[in-house]
């Protein structure tokens, strides 16, 4: 196939799409962010509100569903693009604000800047996202289109040069794609950072006619949502990346393994596949060349271990998702025993950009050994939670304090938990670690899939590591003894520590077990499961010791080591809120009018502490759980 003809085919596709999109952009458009994060916050209702208000007023405005713009803290979000004004993003929407915007801005001409978050293009009136600290550090690459293209319309993607990389690649020999990816040193974004080019090359060498491309979208890490957001916001980007990979390795069939818990992502991707087929970008003889490739969705049923390559393939074959020892690697013997390339969503998403702009451009971003960007879902106790993309090599400090805008309520920073259940907790002293695969590994954590949780002074590190271990323990497939029983035993020990049971030897044993589980497990679930425990033991030993030696939980989280107490001088006597809030009727009114908690009945549900009006603030948590002596006196 000659280069000119695929490019001609693409030109006509592009022009058609551009015409359609331009016609839309000449009108006023409202882009409502309806990825799962937005929908949870009520974006679909906001969209209905907009549509109703607009039709009431008889305005000619189009309301479009887009994906996630990344500023999840301000959901529900909408962007209003009205000709004559810069496109402006509004956050924290509710029906009142929608009414106001339609009346003042759409019907009238006042952009209501007091409610705007930021403008999206440079102008003389209002700052853009780039003018905030977050914008300085952020560099959007694979998230570039997220939140700006109509997820349900392929033309919206094509108009932004979508599928151009494919037309370019199809005009050349398939080895050119591989060479470009290898030259770009693209490292797999699933967590381990294995160079994608090498993986593909090994698969090409695999001696077989039938080959498969699989996209791993089995994002099981609780608290990470990057892959989901990309699939919901820009599904064609991933599809194009997969087609390019298939072309490079010579596969005719591919699968997207998406968690069934992500119904929106499944729906959007299916729609995208259908539309791509219609435009002959997928299916038989793509773009009139002799290259054919088709995609199908496989819905994963929710098992964390299926993120592991061999387990994922096993589950696609109708078995329990248990990992197997490698080699043979998937590249030589994968799905149905055929050579298979399995990459993460984000890895595929980089491919079209690299083909379009070249490996040299890609290598200029990030660091020498870790080119490109890193995508994180930033959650926890930071002000600006959301989906962020920064160049590799940005430090954790910049990510937490500049991009995330510091901690909520000015609490004191304690740790970042990076990499989910397989990652580790890094303290203040490790904040200057640059974010890349190698540096994080050295610090004891891993890049992981990109979940980043910020913890503050109110979080107990023992409880945090217990939480993650409980998760991996539950998700252990049971194949290796060390993982199956070792994590169980570790969990028992940690449970004991949260109750203050154990001594110095307990910690020794815990560490020893952790190391054994790490060394004695087959797959990375088991190998990395002890990471949260090992890192907290290393960096937060004093907290473990406080639990064991003093029976005290410094953060007041471990419920066996705290008790709730009403401070008599602060209690108002006239208010009964705490009594009403208690589910077990543990709070009663004493003869002198003060309230008191019957410790026998108290289940430590936290209700009274939340219910006590802030002007009194009379209820405190005490740790260690010992009542103050003066109280005992008055009780008698």
């Amino acid at each position: 196939m000659s280069a000119s003809s695929t490019e001609e085919t693409y030109q006509s596709l592009h022009e058609e799409a551009k015409k359609k999109v331009d016609a839309k952009e000449n009108k006023t458009q409202i882009l409502v962010g309806t990825a799962t994060c937005g929908v949870s916050a009520g974006a679909l209702k906001i969209k209905e509100d907009f549509e109703r208000e607009i039709s009431d007023k008889g305005l000619d405005v189009e309301v479009v569903e887009v994906g996630c713009i990344g500023h999840c803290y301000a959901e529900p979000l909408a962007v209003i693009a009205k000709p004559g004004h810069p496109a402006i993003c509004y956050g924290y929407l509710d029906d009142g604000l929608v009414h106001r915007l339609v009346e003042d801005f759409l019907d009238g001409d006042d952009p209501s800047y007091e409610y705007a978050l930021a403008a999206l293009e440079r102008n003389d009136v209002f700052p853009t996202f780039e003018d905030f600290p977050r914008g300085v550090y952020e560099q959007k690459l694979i998230l570039e289109n997220c939140g700006f293209i109509d997820v349900r319309d392929i033309d919206s993607y094509i108009a932004r040069d979508g599928y151009k990389a494919l037309s370019k690649a199809l005009g050349k020999d398939s080895s050119a794609v591989l060479e470009e990816i290898k030259a770009a040193n693209l490292r797999g974004r699933g967590g381990a950072g294995f160079p994608a080019g090498l993986k593909w090359e090994a698969c090409i060498k695999g001696d077989h006619d039938e080959k498969y491309v699989i996209c791993n979208a089995d994002e099981g890490d609780p608290g990470a949502f990057m892959d989901r957001s990309i699939l919901e916001s820009d599904p064609h980007l991933v599809i194009e990346g997969m087609i390019l990979c298939a072309y490079a390795i010579g596969a005719r069939k591919g699968y997207l393994y998406i968690r069934a818990e992500y119904p929106r992502a499944v729906g959007h991707v299916q729609e995208a596949i259908d539309q791509a087929r219609e435009k002959r970008l997928l299916g038989e003889s793509i773009m009139d060349t002799d290259f054919s490739f088709d995609l199908e969705i496989f819905q994963g049923s929710g098992a964390f271990v299926c993120g592991e390559a061999t387990a994922l393939v096993n589950s696609m074959e109708g078995n329990m998702g248990m990992p197997e020892s490698r080699p043979p690697r998937l590249a030589s013997q994968g799905f149905r025993g055929k050579p298979t390339v399995l990459n993460n969503v984000k890895t595929f998403a980089y491919v079209p950009y690299i083909i379009n702009r070249g490996s040299d451009w890609f290598k200029e971003i990030g660091t020498k050994d870790n080119p490109g960007t890193a995508v994180f879902s930033l959650v926890g106790k930071v002000n600006n939670t959301g989906l962020v993309e920064v160049p590799m090599g940005t430090t954790l400090r910049e990510l937490v304090f500049d991009v995330g805008d510091g901690l909520r309520e000015n609490k004191e920073f304690k740790a970042v938990q990076i990499g989910g259940p397989s990652g580790g907790c890094l303290p203040e002293s490790a904040l200057d670690v640059p974010i890349d695969f190698d540096s994080l590994h050295e610090a004891g954590a891993i890049m992981g899939s990109g979940g980043l949780v910020v913890l503050d002074e109110n979080d107990c590190m023992v409880s945090v590591s217990r939480y993650f271990l409980e998760f991996t323990q539950h998700e252990s497939c049971g194949k290796c003894t060390f993982c199956r029983l070792g994590t169980r035993h570790m969990l028992d020990i940690l449970d004991g520590i949260t109750r203050g049971e154990g001594d110095a030897e307990t910690l020794e044993l815990l560490k020893e077990l952790a190391e054994d589980v790490r060394d004695g497990s087959l797959c990375n679930l088991g190998k990395t499961a002890p990471n949260p425990v090992l890192t907290t033991l290393e960096y937060f030993m004093d907290e473990y010791k406080a639990h064991l030696e003093e029976g005290r939980c410094p953060a007041g989280v471990c419920r066996d080591l705290i008790l709730y107490y009403i401070e008599p001088p602060k209690c108002s006597k006239l208010c009964n809120v705490c009594v009403g809030s208690c589910p077990t009727e543990a709070i009663f009114t004493r003869d002198d009018g003060l309230k008191e908690i019957d410790q026998e009945k108290c289940v430590k549900c936290d209700n009274c502490l939340k219910a006590c009006p802030p002007e009194y603030d009379a209820i405190v948590k005490l740790s260690p759980p010992v009542l103050p002596p003066e109280k005992e006196k008055t009780a008698k």
């Binding site: 990825a35 959901e75 609780p222 109708g318 078995n319 938990q417 989910g420 979940g451 289940v603 549900c605």
Partner: protein, 191 residues
């Protein structure tokens, strides 16, 4: 969990329908289970046995799959489904305390359904709106920043909804069919 009146027929026809639309190969097992669950809301033991028969896979393997993956549930969903998020962000701000409050109010454990099938309680990992943590999903509506004190309010709202529909709610546990089911199955096995 006891079967309701007419449920057995419903299960059998559903499994038949799903099986007839599939190639019955082993690779199809998970999609079959997903489709059956999508129609029935859960995987009753009877359905798993039928699927095992239809696909020629030992029933133990089908049960193994259903328990290995988190998506599959063996208990029927309640009339009102409450899902408490215990993703990292929600756990950090006390989602577990909220879950416990629900368990206390409904008198069941997470993953279970009340015997009158009015409520079911589940823990889920990450609904996707970590900024609103702790999050509870009540009948597919997401409610953010749920404090333990809000639990009573949610339950009262649900009770209000249930009472309105009580008048035309005639579904009662069908004791007869249930016991007959068991004997049917035993007979079948003996044959």
């Amino acid at each position: 969990m006891q079967l309701m009146k007419g449920e057995k027929e419903q299960i059998l026809s559903c499994v038949d329908e799903v099986l007839s639309n599939s190639t019955k190969e082993k690779e199809e097992l998970i999609p079959i289970l997903q489709k059956v669950q999508a129609r029935l809301g859960y995987l009753p033991a009877l359905a798993m046995e039928k699927i095992a028969d239809g696909t020629n896979v030992p029933a133990a393997d089908v049960y193994g799959l259903a328990t290995f993956y988190n998506q599959f549930r063996l208990n029927p969903p309640g009339e009102h489904e409450v899902k408490v998020c215990l993703g990292t962000a929600c756990y950090m701000v006390g989602g577990d305390i909220t879950l416990e409050s629900f368990e206390r109010r409904m008198e069941i454990k997470e993953g279970e359904t009340t015997s009158d099938r009015r409520y079911s309680l589940e823990r889920v990992a990450c609904v996707g709106c970590c900024t609103m943590a702790p999050v509870v999903v009540v009948d597919d509506e997401v409610e953010g920043k749920v404090t333990p004190t809000r639990v009573d309010g949610i339950m009262l709202e649900l009770e209000g909804k249930s009472n309105n529909t009580d008048a035309n709610d005639s579904s009662k546990v069908d004791q007869d069919t249930e016991s007959k089911d068991d004997s049917d199955r035993e007979e079948g096995e003996q044959k």
